[in-house]
């Protein structure tokens, strides 16, 4: 069949270009994953399959500790960010009020400003807070600060920062889901005598569910992947996985980093694909 003038999708040049781009995009990652199973320290040629680097990474206490910290932060962040993000989505979807455009712009700020600016702001903020709290030697604030030195509450500062940059993403995802909601359903529910709360739980919430789950997975990966903000807001004694990997990477390439990275890649990729599956609107009748 002859190609029409607008049949760019079958232009061999365009196809070749796209294929080369995809290869360039994936080759380094594929290499990283493959070489995590490679039985060689130099890591340039394939010398046989091994799992010993996974074992080595698993036996590295500080690496595992950092991994557990990262997962803990991500879980705490996901719970809070999902609740706040969903509330914000409902708020902006349901109400009109003076200054709404300004609020929307404000909510988008954590998404658009350079990460490093937010990172250093968090560093300054938490160190100031720490000094202020440290000036108390007894009383409720002192006890409170004692409580926050216990795991996992000592991860509170990082978690709070993660929540701040991830809930706006949750709000965007949930709100775009809500945009497709037929408000007549809500009216019908109210007409049939359901209260505001019953309508929310039985009508709106089930409709939002895919959006909420997608938003939750999104904030989970955002938190798990974050390096810059954690790097700045983490105290010297707390380690998260990306911060730990950073300190290892600075010392050079080694197969156990490959193994640890592969584990993280698998977790985030699974979460992302799940989130995308839930985000695509289902076909309507």
């Amino acid at each position: 069949m002859k190609r029409g003038p607008l049949d760019y999708g079958r232009s061999p040049w365009l196809i070749a270009f796209a294929i080369v781009t995809f290869i360039m995009l994936y080759a380094p990652i594929a290499q990283l994953i493959v070489f995590s199973f490679n039985d060689s320290k130099r890591n340039v040629v394939w010398r046989g399959f091994t799992l010993k680097y996974y074992q080595k990474a698993w036996n590295d206490v500080s690496l595992v500790e950092a991994f557990v910290n990262s997962i803990t932060i991500a879980v705490m962040c996901t719970i809070v960010a999902t609740i706040i993000g969903t509330a914000v989505a409902l708020w902006l979807w349901r109400f009109r009020f003076p200054g709404k455009t300004a609020v929307e712009g404000f909510m988008a700020l954590p998404i658009v400003i350079p990460e490093i600016c937010m990172g250093v702001a968090m560093l300054v903020f938490f160190s100031r807070m720490g000094r202020w709290i440290g000036s108390f030697e007894s009383g409720p604030i002192y006890w409170w600060s004692e409580l926050f030195s216990i795991w996992p509450l000592n991860l509170g500062a990082i978690t709070a920062a993660h929540i701040a940059f991830s809930f706006p993403f949750v709000a965007v995802v949930v709100r775009s889901r809500l945009a497709g909601f037929n408000r007549e359903l809500e009216e019908a529910s109210r007409d049939l005598g359901a209260s505001e709360w019953q309508t929310f739980v039985n009508v709106i919430l089930p409709y939002m569910k895919p959006g909420i789950i997608a938003g939750a997975l999104l904030s989970f990966t955002l938190s798990l992947d974050d390096f810059v903000i954690t790097f700045f807001s983490a105290g010297p004694e707390t380690n998260t996985f990306p911060v730990k990997v950073y300190s290892l990477v600075r010392r050079g390439v080694s197969p156990d980093i490959n193994a640890a990275s592969t584990a993280l890649i698998v977790i985030t990729v699974v979460a992302t694909i799940l989130a995308m599956k839930l985000q695509t609107p289902e076909k309507q009748g």
């Binding site: 607008l6 781009t21 990652i29 290499q31 990283l32 890591n43 914000v88 009109r96 950073y246 990477v249």
Partner: protein, 296 residues
């Protein structure tokens, strides 16, 4: 949409958590460093806000001006390369069979969700002196018997220079450029392209006089989406550029970590913020103009 006065309870219940969190853990910290950028160090730990402009003046010193200039041109160049790669890819995806599109789009976005640090690390393994690229080149070199003719292959120093940083930035941010481009090319009314071709314009002419102007909002969004994080990036220049390719992000990090000069670091990060706001204003302007044009 409801007026907020009709249901104040629900209004406040849904509004307060988000507003509170953003206020305490975003606006207050940012205000703090904004104030600090007008401050002076009085001792190792203490900083007094004196309203001085000395920190901003310092960013105009030759050393820092050079780094800012370098960050700008590296980011501009990397953004341009991103656009040059992402446009054909987005175009190709839009014109591919419909059932393929979600999968292709997922393939583009997926690397974006893989940790930035890990992707940068993956590039180190490719570009280091004994990395995959040099290894492949050596293999090709020996395959062509150049080792017999000229001598053994000399591995290239591919890391720790500006080129490595640009390649790294393009690699890391390219997927982000594809998304807004895809969104606008998808909505492009193809009858305009047909009309242009029917009236005798060549494919290239059609592309540059019809397709590009019509997809301008996507191009601008993509450029801004990619340019802002590139400019503030510190991981990629740190790991791929080393000491030879320092960008603003590295200087800021230094001020807050090793050099311990927070007011100056604060001024530098607010310089980034001002550039960000300027870029966003440009986008708002372009959006408004393109909307006006459609309306006519």
């Amino acid at each position: 949409m409801e007026n907020w006065k009709d249901n104040r309870l629900v209004f406040w219940v849904t509004a307060l958590p988000g507003v509170f969190w953003l206020f305490v853990f975003f606006l207050v910290p940012l205000t703090l460093i904004w104030l600090m950028s007008f401050g002076e160090k009085t001792s190792i730990l203490d900083i007094e806000i004196t309203g001085t402009l000395a920190n901003y003046a310092r960013t105009f010193q030759a050393v820092y001006l050079k780094i800012i200039w370098k960050s700008l041109w590296i980011s501009v160049l990397a953004t341009a390369v991103c656009l040059a790669i992402a446009y054909p890819v987005a175009f190709g995806i839009c014109f591919s069979p419909k059932r393929w599109r979600p999968l292709l789009l997922l393939l583009v976005i997926l690397p974006f969700w893989i940790n930035l640090l890990i992707r940068t690390y993956a590039l180190i393994a490719v570009f280091r002196t004994r990395g995959t690229l040099n290894f492949t080149l050596e293999w090709l070199w020996n395959l062509a018997f150049l080792d017999k003719l000229i001598g053994p292959f000399q591995p290239l120093e591919l890391l720790y220079n500006n080129g490595a940083v640009i390649v790294g930035l393009v690699y890391v941010f390219m997927p982000f450029m594809v998304l807004p481009l895809y969104a606008t090319i998808e909505r492009l009314d193809r009858s305009y392209l047909e009309a242009s071709l029917d009236l005798g314009a060549s494919q290239w002419r059609t592309f540059f006089s019809v397709t590009v102007p019509l997809t301008m909002p996507g191009i601008v969004s993509g450029i801004i989406l990619v340019f802002i994080p590139m400019l503030g990036m510190f991981l990629v220049p740190d790991l791929l550029g080393g000491t030879n390719a320092i960008m603003i992000g590295n200087v800021i990090t230094d001020q807050f970590k090793a050099a311990n000069d927070w007011p100056f670091g604060a001024a530098l990060s607010f310089l980034l913020m001002y550039i960000t706001f300027a870029a966003l204003a440009v986008r708002a302007f372009v959006d408004a103009r393109s909307k006006g044009r459609v309306g006519v």
